[in-house]
Symmetry: C2
């Protein structure tokens, strides 16, 4: 990327600094890859979870909670799945001083915990579709370098699992999941690519995988969602069948949809600036912060501020007032910026006198002074504008950083390259190895393309996306 | 207890039956003591959690989330604590095929995860009080027989942890916690005893423990809450100090407050009847269920039912309609009773004609027919009445089952015995062993008493409570 600022020059250092200054996580827990959710970080995650819950409930899912520990024998039923996750599971073999009969593992994801039970829950076509989800901690023993919110060993995980009578219904679910993801991404001001992964990069056990990938300021992609079509793969391994109207026993068709705290990582990376994080207006723990600009006591000004807080609360917003007596307004502005509060309301004696308020946008720094009477409409419309513009800026950056390449030697920058690909594993491997990048797949919804495979020169109508990843 | 009905004759069988019929949990998960939260059960737990969150947030606590895994060396810093929990922790010693440098354990409770970090969070008196809580899964390798919601190996746990400058402030917190518990117990229609535990029965590492004990239909007590005064015990082990106004470094005073899914177990046991569970009006997943009594198509009646649903929704209630076409009204009544829906609204052609509704109370089975116009006030007042009366009935039962005993030989029934106790360990042990009951402590708020120790005959002004426990 070509933008300026510390986040483009030294992303890692900048990222660690802004999340620490915003107090979104505490990294001092004495186990690598396991951080502490601070009140502010957990509140943000809970608001994202609540929005996810609202969207997925509307899609007729029900929330459940399965146990964390999975018996070894259940875990081993789907061959690709254990191959994919076997190296990174944590094992429990003792309790107190007793050796367990069957070793238990900490779920890395819950297919193998749920599907033996789905076998009991699904008897006939009347039990379908089965659509459930849970929000739980999962564990993966990452060997790569860990990074807060992006690559953790204890992960805050959303996972939806569905069973359907037919492949068409399962396909429809994947379509719905992508619409849910779009809605959520709008609230997060976070455009993303929907890429159908290559065969060798799909979820272990899946028929195909759609990755949701967000572009970070490093010019690399971060996967923020995974939506998977399993067809009958797991149903056969776990014998999940239903009796159809015609009395025949058939395997169910399954899908899953997963997301994690990476949503926070991506939001921070995409929207933050050198002053701190910038949180999306709809999901920020504090949406509006009122800051009285006073020197000494001023009961009339404080009263005015409290009435502003009250009116913003009545709009249903999360609003607070920074009325700490021993702190200068400048320091309060600074902290509000570090924490990414979307709208600051500065209230000084001028505002009180003229019955006005000054609204300061966190994303652009722009200030507007408006009559107090218009508080409700001004704040509401400013939040809408900010959401739209933050999304649009990120979208423009994503578009600008996707470039076509027709020759391997052109692939040198930290960009997303669109290339021709014949679709074979052999060429895919050649491309990945020679460019030291990942072939992240093809657009899920397809696109018109006509060119040559960048590796074997064969004519192709398939464009694939090549990029480094986080 | 002397009441009649299956729940008094064979509690275990009855309990297992009603939770299964209500579909509150699925016990078929292949690891002992770890059940699946079904949608209905999880919804009930989430509503209890939301009410807990509301109350504890009002008390200026903040929600956090600490990692599940605790390093062995941190766990071992407080001697009594490891003695109390050491035998029942699950150990993780491997990840993939790698042996971990330091074995990790699954939290049985989070003191030893949090307190090394509290040491970093608390620097000066300005950081106090520190009041946080989390709602997480904890693990205890129970050797006693497990029972759904009552004795599990994976437990859904609420734990609040506070640090204060002085013992007085810590005492005030315990007082606040008991008020929060009272509020919650009112919503759960569940009276309980607040007993200051004996020295040998307090939480491992605590200075003292207040147990909240509910009386089940077996005549035995179930601990549903634990509130603990730690004084400096953990602060010394984890070196949690603050710099006071006078520049002196002092240890903080700590308290904790814990609850779990036992709240559900107690509610089911106390209020259920031979037809199923009876859920408290304020916290039931479905508070009002409308059942159209129709045979064949009846668009006018269905329209009438939907308008009732709409009006109840506008009251902010969780309401649904059982409009399954191929099911008789009788079966729908039956299912509504099994699931413990507080208020059923039966709507037949008479009701439509007379513009009335018939409300049926789950707890007493009482029916009242009221004008449609009065829907809002009738439902609201009926919910209040039910909450009050369910609480009062349970309170009466608790009071009736507390009996005074002056001689060990009188202690033969499944009751709560109030006895004189001199306060010594020697007599306590004698009483517990000879009666095969637990000495659960003395009323936290104290009471007037004058009698003799039931074991050594010495004069005492202390009354203790003796009972079998679940």
């Amino acid at each position: 990327m070509t933008e300026e600022g510390k986040k483009y020059e030294n992303f890692s250092e900048w990222y660690n600094e802004v999340i620490e200054k915003a107090d979104l996580t505490d990294k001092r827990y004495p186990v690598k890859g396991m951080n502490i959710w601070t009140p502010y970080g957990w509140k943000l995650m809970s608001l994202i979870d609540a929005e996810t819950r609202r969207l997925i409930d509307e899609n007729d899912h029900q929330e459940v909670k399965f146990p964390l520990l999975i018996p070894e024998d259940e875990f081993q039923k789907e061959a690709d799945h254990i191959k994919g996750f076997g190296d990174e599971v944590y094992w429990v073999s003792h309790a107190g001083s007793t050796e367990l009969d069957i070793p238990l593992l900490l779920r890395p994801t819950s297919e193998t915990a749920m599907y033996p039970i789905f076998d009991l829950w699904v008897r006939s076509h009347a039990d379908l579709p089965l659509k459930i989800y849970q929000m739980v901690n999962v564990f993966r023993y990452e060997t790569k370098q860990t990074r807060a919110f992006m690559r953790m060993r204890e992960i805050h995980f959303f996972e939806a699992h569905t069973c359907h009578a037919t492949e068409e219904e399962a396909e429809k679910q994947i379509h719905d999941d992508l619409e849910i993801m779009d809605e959520l991404a709008k609230k997060l001001c976070m455009p993303y690519l929907k890429l159908r992964r290559t065969e060798w990069d799909k979820f272990p056990g899946a028929h195909y995988t759609v990755g949701g990938d967000a572009l970070l300021p490093t010019g690399r992609l971060l996967q923020i969602a995974g939506i998977h079509q399993y067809l009958n793969n797991f149903a056969e391994a776990y014998d999940i069948t239903y009796e159809d109207i015609d009395g025949e026993h058939k395997y169910v068709h399954q899908t899953t949809y997963g997301m994690s705290e990476r949503l926070i990582g991506a939001v921070v990376a995409i929207h933050g600036d050198d002053r701190g994080v910038v949180l999306p207006p709809a999901l920020a723990p504090v949406q509006v912060r009122v800051i009285p600009i006073l020197y000494g006591d001023d009961p009339a000004l404080m009263e005015y501020c409290r009435s502003i807080v009250q009116r913003a609360k009545e709009l249903g917003l999360r609003v607070d007032i920074d009325d700490r007596p021993d702190m200068r307004p400048g320091s309060k502005f600074f902290e509000s910026e570090e924490k990414g509060v979307p709208i600051r309301v500065d209230v000084g004696s001028h505002e009180l006198e003229d019955q006005e308020i000054t609204l300061v946008r966190r994303d652009t720094g722009e200030k507007i002074t408006v009559p107090l009477d218009e508080l409700e409409e001004e704040i509401t419309s400013l939040m809408d504008t900010m959401e739209r513009e933050m999304y649009a800026r990120a979208e423009r950056s994503l578009e600008e950083n996707i470039v076509d390449a027709e020759d391997i030697s052109d692939i040198t920058e930290e960009k997303v390259y669109r290339i021709g690909w014949c679709g074979t594993l052999r060429c895919g491997e050649g491309i990945e190895e020679s460019t030291e990048r990942n072939l992240l797949g093809t657009l899920y919804h397809g696109e018109e393309y006509s060119g040559k495979c960048i590796w074997c020169d064969e004519e192709t109508d398939t464009a694939a996306y090549l990029c480094k990843t986080h």
